[in-house]
Assembly symmetry: C2
């Protein structure tokens, strides 16, 4: 196995806030290279961590949401997901997030992993939790300007829908990979 | 299968640029709800699309890179990836990206899919291409301030490394899911 030297840490010299928008802020980090001591500036878009919910019905379907996504100017099919409050646990955030976006409720959420949204210039992590035995428990409670269409998708179809591009949100796909590949690792192990 | 009405498009009334940083710009979109006609503002972080390269050696290993990631303040293990120029095809961007970050070269890249980085407030898509038969062809050609450690990982280990969190970049995992699940769909189909 080829393996070169692991890159070493850079030392952060100073940080400053450069912009503030509703969902994210932009911070500038000035950091010193461990190679040659030179200082470079890196802009980072900072946003709260999130949680994506893999909600499985007794009939082995996933409860997913269709939404109009302004940046893409189209409808996507994604896992129910949202941002977490400071200090909140993904397991605690998952239940209300699922309830509000879909009207479904189930078991206590089980944490299965977390993905880094974009290590290049963002600090956000999106956790994945699994909720089993979910059933419709009431109406959705959406924020103003939010509209979701609930769509239940057989678990057996999900990998094919990712392969075909019908499910293409990176954090949704990363959560699904954690879900399927943990299960495979358990079966193998 | 539960399926509610698919959300309808919002009409964009106007857009304006609100911030410019090296890698991304922030644009504000004012859009009208199809439900009640109200106009809401959405901030979008706009950055060029990217390409992630699944580079497979003759010995069935993936050529991956370790990098110090400033936003996360740690080293990650990711696919070689970078941004594309306006109008560039992922298949054309993949070869130089792989060469510069790792020193490896192989077959013509094959496009296998694309992931939306963050449909909530970003417009960026990251394409995935597969390059086969890769071999070390020379030295890396990194930008200033960039340092990568090349690490070859057996394809057979990759799913377990995602399940265990050792590989956790969302776009890397999304590209790997497209790679494995297309293969499964072909085997099934």
């Amino acid at each position: 196995m080829v393996k070169e030297r692991r890159p070493r840490p850079w030392q952060v010299m100073r940080e400053e806030q450069k912009g503030e928008f509703d969902i994210f802020t932009v911070r500038s980090m000035h950091a010193r290279s461990p190679e040659d001591g030179s200082v470079h500036e890196f802009n980072v878009a900072c946003a709260p961590d999130g949680v994506a919910v893999i909600a499985v019905t007794p009939g082995d379907q996933l409860v997913m949401v269709e939404q109009w996504r302004h940046p893409l100017q189209r409808v996507t099919l994604e896992l129910p997901a949202g941002t977490m409050d400071e200090g909140e646990r993904p397991e605690d955030a998952g239940t209300p997030e699922l309830r509000e976006e879909t009207g479904y409720e189930g078991s206590e959420p089980e944490w299965i992993g977390a993905a880094a949204l974009n290590p290049s210039w963002q600090n956000t992590r999106v956790h994945a939790v699994v909720v089993r035995g979910v059933r419709r428990a009431g109406e959705k409670e959406l924020d103003e300007g939010e509209e979701t269409g609930v769509r239940c998708v057989p678990v057996a179809d999900v990998k094919r829908m990712v392969a075909g591009g019908e499910i293409d949100s990176a954090t949704t796909v990363a959560a699904l990979a954690a879900f399927f590949w943990r299960r495979e690792a358990e079966l193998d192990g």
